[in-house]
Amino acid sequence: MGQTSIRNNIRRLRFEANEMTQAELAEKVGVTRQTLNAIEAAKYSPTLELAFRIAEVFGVPLDEVFQHVGSSDN
């Protein structure tokens, strides 16, 4: 229910980052675990600032974390 058009790889990136928990990532980027869970499930689109903070934690470019559905075809 309520899926956004932004997909993400947060789950995979967390797994690759030493199996970082949602709570740990949430604390690093300054949001609640529930908000991070909603972002990961593609039910909430974060602001650009938060999206950059998440990418910074993993040390990857923004487009490796978030993709707009259909944008790769253009």
Binding site: G2, V31, T32, Q34, T35, A38, K43, L50
Partner: protein
């Protein structure tokens, strides 16, 4: 409980606020409107009792819901999602309040313009009833704010 762990502290607080609003409104308004309609001469003294009981009821229900929802267990951290949902809730509450106040004003203007048509719904002659209708409007808009936020939280969980 899994449902509780899915909720942020802000959302739990909203459930508690909505619960208190609903319980107090269900107690307060039927009592008040029946008193006003009956034209109780000792209305002020009776009203004071109802107001005090409402406050006590709000404290009891608020405490019970806080215990049930375990709101004190986590620090209350507000993030961008809380602020965004709060802004949406405030917008809905503002619109609801504007509509309700416009309806009350419309009724007052109508009764003022056509005194001969005053029927069962006449409120102009009862200032206390007008005050309570405005209070009810405030409460409904507050409930609309909480309900909107809770809807957004549940949809995104």
């Amino acid at each position: 409980m899994n449902l509780l762990s899915d909720m942020s502290t802000t959302e739990k607080n909203l459930w508690a606020e909505l619960g208190v609003d609903v319980v107090v409104a269900l107690y307060y308004f039927p009592k008040m409107f029946s008193l006003i309609r009956a034209g109780d001469t000792a209305l002020v003294s009776v009203m004071a009792g109802v107001v005090v009981t409402s406050i006590i009821l709000a404290i009891i229900v608020g405490t019970a819901l806080a215990i049930l929802l375990r709101v004190w267990r986590e620090p209350r951290l507000e993030d961008e999602r809380d602020l965004r949902f709060s802004a949406r809730g405030t917008l809905i509450a503002y619109r609801a309040l504007a509509i309700l106040v416009a309806l009350i004003m419309g009724q007052l203007v109508f009764e003022g313009l056509f005194p001969g048509l005053r029927g069962q719904l006449a409120i102009l002659t009862k200032p206390l009833l007008i005050a309570h209708l405005l209070l009810l409007s405030l409460l409904l808009s507050s409930a609309a704010k909480s309900a909107t936020q809770l809807f957004l939280y549940r949809r995104a969980s």
